[in-house]
């Protein structure tokens, strides 16, 4: 069951991610990406990360991707056909090879040891447990996140005003 789920969700997420970067139209990319997010949420849930799985759906798939879709529709961004059709296949090959080369140490050499999961403690990954951590040990990063979001908010406002007053 676990293997089946992993293969299904994992394979689907890779396929959708590929779809997202290959699609000609940004809208298709975004839809594909939302699919990837959902698959990842499933994978999170499989690992007892319940809160994170929920947030993945709510924040990522729900909010962030919705924002992307908004931008795409508002700007009516379209890949310029002429420009994109001139894409060089060799470039992509080169990109895959070089980015993959970064992972040679990780994927191949790291495989020497098989790391197994242990049984999770009760309450692992629940909203209560993670929330408790957030409000105690990690209260500082949590507060910084509020500064971050405030800065981003104000920044977005000021950047979108072409001419301010």
């Amino acid at each position: 069951m676990e293997i089946l789920m992993f293969n299904l969700l994992g394979g689907l997420s890779v396929a959708l991610a590929l779809g997202a970067i290959i699609s000609k139209r940004p809208v298709n990319s975004a839809i594909n990406l939302i699919g990837t997010m959902f698959c990842l949420a499933g994978l999170f849930a499989m690992q007892d990360a319940h809160l994170i799985a929920a947030l993945q759906v709510l924040v990522y798939a729900g909010a962030i991707m919705a924002l992307f879709l908004f931008v795409i529709m508002l700007l009516n961004v379209r890949e310029k056909v002429g420009a994109e059709s001139r894409r060089q296949p060799y470039w992509q090959l080169l990109a895959v090879v070089s980015a993959g080369a970064l992972f040679v140490p990780l994927v191949t050499l790291g495989g020497g040891k098989i790391l197994k999961f242990k049984e999770a403690a009760s309450g692992f990954g629940t909203t209560a447990a993670v929330g408790r951590l957030l409000y105690t040990d990690y209260i500082l990063p949590f507060e910084i996140a509020s500064v971050l979001l405030l800065a981003a908010l104000v920044g977005a406002v000021i950047l979108t005003k072409t001419k301010i007053r």
């Binding site: 060089q88 060799y90 470039w91 080169l94 990109a95 070089s98 080369a101 970064l102 040679v104 140490p105």
Partner: protein, 651 residues
């Protein structure tokens, strides 16, 4: 003791003068500017004089005074103090710099009187005095370096003083570049010294040099070679000498002060100061002597056929500096310092005299336009003749004693090849006498050749403010040599004064073991060479001027040599072709256009062209920027990861 304790005022006073003239000089009257500049230097000279008196009053082995103002940089094992040190060596330089400097300031008041930017000139000149005094008084290498950079900077600013002239600002840049090459060597040497000794204070480094460094070892040879590289840049030795003749674009008093009497001798000071290190590096000593002797003869021959009065003097300076390094190279530091001193007197006098001539000739510098000025400018003529005789080495003038001592030291030296150096230096002495008297005869005797009748009618003697310094300097050029009368028992006065600085541990500080007969013989030879040079010059340029022209017209060898020398052996052209152009090409065409535009902008394109051939190169080159930046990051990451993995797998 009044004097030594106030030694800080010696450099600070000119700095104050520079600050006043630099910041508010344009608001002051010319007179006030002159008073501030001359006054600050004059006071500085008085304090230096008092300090010198104090030093003389101490017992010979007590003559080191250090004055610490504050700790400048202190961090861990590294300490650099803002401290001044007065010992016999710096005291001699102190007197020369403040004394000659003061006279030249006085002279400048007259000479620069008509120039715009009068306060600027004096601000730079005072700043120069400050830097030079810091250079010679600093108690550690770092302070010396700061002074070293400072004098280079002021020299650069003053050479480019007439910046409206393209040649002047080019000359300034050239001086700066060559000095930077030397400074770079000096800085590395300082770092190496710190690395070896854990300190950069003279009082810590020199006494232990003998124990810490192996004779002729890599460390000491490296350090001294780098130091000498610094000296070649500052003191215009082969191969970094070409800036000095070009530096004559600056105002003439500047040439006298910076490019003859003081700054260019900083290299000699540095080598003499570091004698404890140089004595341990025989190979460096040999190179120093070789370069010195070669420069002496090389520059002298270049002076033979110049027509610009200041350029002749410039080549002569390069050549005389060569003598000083020759003396250092054979271990005769006293002779080197002695020659620095006498040279400062007569060369400053010559430069100021030439300035007076140029002043009288309404700015004309070409000797072919001069002639017969002796009658119209009697003061200048007399002082100039005395100095010319001094540089030619005619007894009993100052140049004779110091040059003779160098030649004697070279003859008796222990450095390999010392006899060759002696021969070179002796020939150079004859050549020097020849071209200096060529200059003299062309300028002061015969008929005035100027075509412009405005200039002809306008020739006049310079005002007193300019001639008085000439007289004083000429007087010094007459008597300065007596400090080094070699006949006195147990070495001469200057030698006795300086010996504690140059005493080598383990060696008795003694004079040369030489018979009076040999000494007299060598003197005879050098004086003979000088007289020979003078007489030849008299034949060609005074008695029978057409002979020189005839000689040239015969063509062949002599003519080609003449052309070669007149073009300064094409050294500048060679430098340009060998060094400047390739560097420009590499940095502009190569590194920038290639690295930034090709490799970085389009490392991708580079790889792509591999596959797709040159045909599509132009198209791919325009595919945009940001993405290629991302590529560069990824490739950099791959490089890092591979490198790191390689390193850690080695363990």
């Amino acid at each position: 003791m009044w004097g030594l304790e106030h030694i800080w005022w010696v450099p600070i006073l000119p700095l104050i003068g520079a600050t006043i003239n630099g910041l508010v000089g344009h608001l002051l009257s010319k007179r006030a500017v002159g008073v501030v500049a001359v006054g600050s230097t004059g006071l500085s000279f008085l304090v230096a004089l008092a300090a010198f008196g104090n030093i003389l009053g101490l017992a010979p082995d007590q003559r080191v005074y250090e004055s610490v103002l504050f700790t400048w940089i202190q961090a861990g094992s590294f300490t650099a103090e803002a401290a001044l040190q007065v010992d016999p060596l710096s005291a001699v330089f102190l007197m020369v710099v403040t004394g000659v400097g003061f006279l030249i300031h006085v002279y400048s008041v007259g000479y620069m009187g008509h120039e715009a930017g009068y306060p600027r000139y004096f601000a730079y000149l005072n700043l120069f005095m400050f830097s030079m005094l810091l250079l010679i008084l600093g108690a550690n290498f770092l302070l010396m370096f700061i002074g070293w950079e400072g004098v280079g900077l002021c020299s650069y600013l003053l050479i480019g003083y007439y910046y409206e002239k393209q040649s002047a600002s080019d000359a300034g840049k050239k001086a700066f570049v060559m000095n930077r090459i030397g400074d770079f060597g000096f800085l590395l040497a300082i770092m190496w010294i710190f690395w070896t000794f854990g300190s950069i204070d003279y009082t810590t480094v020199f006494p232990v040099a003998h124990d810490k460094l192996a004779l002729g070892g890599l460390a000491v040879t490296g350090i001294t070679l780098l130091l000498f590289l610094g000296a070649t840049g500052k003191s215009a030795q082969i191969p970094l000498y070409t800036w000095l003749p070009d530096a004559m674009e600056g105002p003439t008093p500047v040439s006298a002060l910076i490019h003859a009497a003081t700054m260019v001798t900083a290299g000699v000071y540095m080598v003499a100061r570091c004698n404890a290190l140089f004595n341990l590096a025989p190979m460096t000593m040999m190179i120093v002597a070789l370069i010195g002797a070669t420069t002496a003869i090389f520059a002298a021959t270049m002076g033979l056929y110049q027509f610009d009065i200041k350029r002749v003097l410039a080549y002569s300076t390069v050549s005389q500096l060569g003598y000083m390094f020759l003396a250092c190279g054979v271990g005769a530091y006293v002779a080197a310092v002695f020659h620095v001193m006498t040279h400062a007197f007569f060369k400053a006098c010559l430069f100021l005299g030439s300035g007076s001539v140029i002043h009288g000739m309404s700015g004309e510098q070409d000797m072919r336009q001069m002639g017969g000025l002796g009658k119209k400018m009697p003061m200048t003529h007399a002082t100039f003749l005395i100095s010319t005789l001094a540089i030619a080495g005619i007894p009993p003038l100052a140049g004779f004693f110091s040059k003779d001592e160098i030649l004697l030291s070279a003859f008796l030296g222990h450095t390999p090849g010392h006899l060759l150096y002696w021969v070179l230096a002796t020939i150079a002495a004859a050549v020097t006498a020849f071209y200096m008297f060529r200059l003299y005869f062309m300028t002061f005797t015969g008929e005035l050749r100027a075509e412009d009748h405005h200039v002809r009618d306008h020739v006049h003697e310079s005002p007193n403010v300019m001639t008085m310094p000439l007289v004083i300097l000429a007087g010094l050029a007459v008597v300065g040599g007596f400090l080094g009368l070699p006949m006195i028992e147990g070495g001469h006065a200057l030698k006795n004064f300086l010996d504690p600085v140059f005493a080598q541990p383990g060696h008795a500080a003694g004079g040369h073991d030489v018979s009076v007969g040999l000494e007299l013989l060598l003197m005879g030879v050098s004086v003979g060479m000088g007289v020979l040079g003078i007489l030849t010059a008299r034949y060609y340029y005074s008695v029978k001027p057409e002979a020189a022209v005839e000689l040239l017209n015969k063509g062949g060898m002599i003519k080609s040599i003449y052309t070669l020398m007149q073009n300064k052996y094409y050294v500048d052209e060679i430098y340009d072709a060998l060094i400047v152009k390739p560097i420009v090409a590499v940095s502009d065409k190569g590194l920038w256009r290639f690295f930034d535009v090709k490799v970085v902008d389009g490392l991708v394109n580079f790889a792509a062209t591999f596959f797709m051939g040159l045909g599509s190169m132009f198209r791919t080159a325009h595919t945009g920027l940001t993405r290629s930046y991302a590529y560069a990051m990824v490739f950099g990451g791959v490089f890092l990861a591979g490198f790191w993995l390689f390193l850690s797998s080695g363990k």
